[in-house]
Symmetry: C2
Subunit: 496 residues, 2 copies
């Protein structure tokens, strides 16, 4: 422990999870470390949920992104969650949000910190941050994610550290903490390549703010392993074909532009397909580094990966975290403000690959709201990337729920990414290249290439009638635009 807490004055702050949790009071806003189940505060939220059963309280809970360990479920069930931002993936919490019980603020992941910093949201009263070490000066070395931890710790008056002994202290050096200066003297974010190191390897804070240090030993919840299926394999093949063609046309270099890939089964399948392709010297500038990122590193195809968290399945976690020295020079973890920064994304010319719930004839994408009303997870970083990327690609299986739902609909029932921000749409059925096309031209591409055969004629019929009966730049029949969604609610089937 002495090797992990290198600022000896801080040894007296070691506390139990209960003692630390007792520093958090009703009405507070707390900032928890954690991004896609990695590096989340584990012991203190649990103790807090227990405490709240005896001492009811309501909190605003802000995280990087999703937490592991059922933490969101436990906090909700303890009656503790009044407000939650900016992202979540928990089934129980999702249901509560959709009942209107928890106010959920679904934000672009790069923007939460800006809102806090300028006090448009917040202030954060307490930060709870997982770390692998504390430096001589009280600097916090994060564990498997950075998320919003750096700004939580810097902005909050008090910080609780969960020092996780399971993760090697050799992680030190893997993180790059850069915080933009206050306006009006803010200067460019100096990241110019995926591997630019521009900050410190720890979160610099005044050690006097460290209110408690809790020692933990629990690992991150393992990533859900997503095995490719025929649909995701087909999607990946269309994408790799497309990228090869872009290289042939001279629009992308042979090593491509830096890649961002969302989380989940499709992103994993895409990266696996890249692993089987001829591409070399790839680079990633992404949020989450998953199993497939490390497969690509191991196979020598991926030179460098910049992200915000490392979220792995159990076998890959063992492999990577027990050999962190071998990977430490190939990866870099940044605050989500920087991994998702519009400035850097535009500069590097990212190829952004994210998953849609549904999209429409004209290229509007719904990532968040099932049936236009019910929150799935949140927009996450998809908007940060899509709206500033060089190529903004959305993928989806052409059908969901065994064909009862078409991912291609007349009109998206909620829009997270507008027609102006979407370049390429891919389903298992094919790829629609929307670049430089007017809406009516896009519709023909989307119907021909993306729609499942079972829905193609229905979409054509809608589109042709909309052109004829209503016209306009973006023809629609408003009285029918959501009829497929309505029919699904009524009959469990979008098809008539």
């Amino acid at each position: 422990i002495l090797a992990r807490i290198r600022c000896p004055d801080l040894l007296t702050r070691i506390a139990t999870p209960d003692q630390a949790a007792s520093l958090i009071h009703d009405g507070m806003t707390i900032g928890l470390s954690g991004f896609t189940r990695a590096g989340d505060a584990k012991a203190v939220p649990l103790a807090l949920a227990e405490r709240a059963k005896r001492h009811p309280m309501k909190l605003t809970v802000i995280t990087g992104a999703s937490l592991g360990h059922n933490t969101d479920k436990l906090l909700y069930e303890a009656g503790l969650l009044a407000r939650r931002m900016p992202f979540q993936v928990d089934d129980t919490l999702r249901a509560a949000i959709n009942r209107g019980e928890v106010m959920f603020i679904d934000q672009h992941l790069s923007e939460t910190v800006e809102a806090l910093r300028s006090r448009q949201v917040g202030p954060v009263d307490m930060a709870v941050i997982e770390a692998v070490a504390i430096t001589e000066d009280g600097g916090i070395v994060p564990s498997t994610s950075v998320g919003n931890s750096a700004s939580f710790a810097i902005l909050a008056p008090k910080v609780i550290i969960e020092l996780n002994l399971t993760y090697s202290a050799a992680m030190e050096g893997m993180h790059d903490i850069y915080i933009p200066a206050k306006r009006p003297s803010r200067t460019p974010v100096p990241v110019v390549t995926c591997d630019s190191r521009v900050g410190t390897p720890y979160i610099p804070i005044d050690p006097a703010k460290i209110a408690a240090i809790v020692i933990t030993r629990e690992a991150d919840s393992p990533a859900r392993v997503a095995t490719p299926d025929p649909a995701t394999t087909a999607i990946s093949a269309h994408l790799v074909d497309f990228l090869q063609n872009e290289v042939k046309k001279g629009r992308l270099p042979p090593s491509l532009n830096p890649i961002q890939a969302g989380i989940g089964v499709i992103a994993n399948a895409v990266l696996s397909e890249l692993n089987r392709s001829d591409f070399q010297n790839l680079r990633m500038y992404s949020e989450v580094l998953q199993d497939s990122t490390f497969e690509l590193i191991d196979s020598g195809k991926l030179l460098y990966a910049s992200g915000c968290s490392v979220t792995l399945s159990a076998p890959w976690a063992e492999r990577v975290f027990n050999n962190i020295e071998a990977y430490r020079d190939r990866i870099i973890l940044r605050p989500q403000e920087i991994s998702n920064h519009p400035e850097v994304i535009r500069r590097l010319g990212i190829i952004a690959i994210n998953t849609a719930l549904e999209f429409d004839l004209y290229g509007n994408v719904n990532s968040t709201h099932v049936g236009g009303t019910h929150m799935m997870n949140g927009i996450g970083g998809s908007g940060d990337f899509a709206r500033n990327a060089y190529l903004s690609i959305f993928v989806a299986k052409s059908q969901a729920k065994s064909g009862a739902i078409s991912a291609v609909v007349p009109m998206a029932s909620h829009v997270d990414h507008t027609e102006h921000d979407v370049d390429i749409l891919i389903t298992d059925n094919g790829l629609a290249d929307l670049r430089g096309l007017a809406p009516r031209e896009r519709a023909r591409q989307v119907i021909a290439h993306c729609a499942h055969a079972d829905y193609r004629d229905l979409l054509s019929d809608y589109f042709e009638r909309a052109c004829r009966e209503r016209g306009g730049q973006t023809p629609h029949l408003l009285s029918e635009a959501f009829s497929w969604h309505e029919r699904y609610t009524r009959t469990g089937q979008m098809k008539p």
Copy 2:
């Protein structure tokens, strides 16, 4: 003329508009200078329209933004417009677009050039650029706008220059031409304040590419003068109140952050209201510099204005352009890629004020599509600013068409700016501050503060029933979501 064409070799390239127009052939993509009616190519497009009557041809026409002089109308009527991007405001062209006769690609104004540069769109075969001078090395000094002119001239193999003698050669020095480097060696855009000068005062091109120089004398079409009315005055008052309060709360400095204001009557009213306020030392980082910008400069309240064009009414044009030396140090004109650059907008922390056609209970904004289908003008720069701004503000009159239309609707019939990108909504009725609120909370604010009294109960009724009957993060009744729009089409009235 010798003083204007300082590269003597080029004197032989002087040509008539007809001669220049004859260099443009069927099937070409041409890039025309011009941004919000300022600095548009005037003589060659006119000659081209004449020529097309005798020699039918189809072109793709790309501009900065809107053109003056009925150019879009004339090009359309000559049967010449196959494709048009990225923005327009012409009545005749608008109707043709909405009949599906001209393919209109409605793009974020900062992105057209990126698409051209990477050959995702284009290539541009010919650039037609208005200038006030040509330097010793063939550099082009633009006139009253920069728009996309610099990249058109750099990317096209041939350039026609319209040298406009009406505008003073003393404009030289007012422009700042900075072109981001090719990836992967692109570095930060070094603009760190509104008045940063980071490029050259002319567009640097190889003089051998200059195919023709046409001498012109016609001025820009004057801006339509928009006089404030009670509604726009009320909107401005709400906005200024809000800004004063933000200063009081310490969220904005007393001189505010740099301001962007869209074009039109409301933007003008807002800036006039600022002129009557106590704010001092203001700065603008905007697209269009209008009459009101210069009023603010004259009154000493505005220190500096960075933009992409100067679009003035006839009296202000006389005042400003005849005294350009007096204003030259207070204004800077940049390529629209830079005036609207996500990187710079985020860095400077812009306060973005744009006009909506309609918005919904949850903060989704429609800027472009009347009734969800018919193009008004285009998204212009509103998305570039809104999605990366510090404060993203949308304004609208609470009603249109004498009350037959409510600007606040259950669901936006087209989404250009998503709920994730909208902070503040203002109508004559009041201001809704959506920051940090969940959708159900936003709805209550929007209904209470923005809706016109005639529509308030109808909106409340929709919202309450949607919560009760359907629920979700964002309650909607899909079968009714567009019923107001449908009723307007049927009866000419949104009210039942």
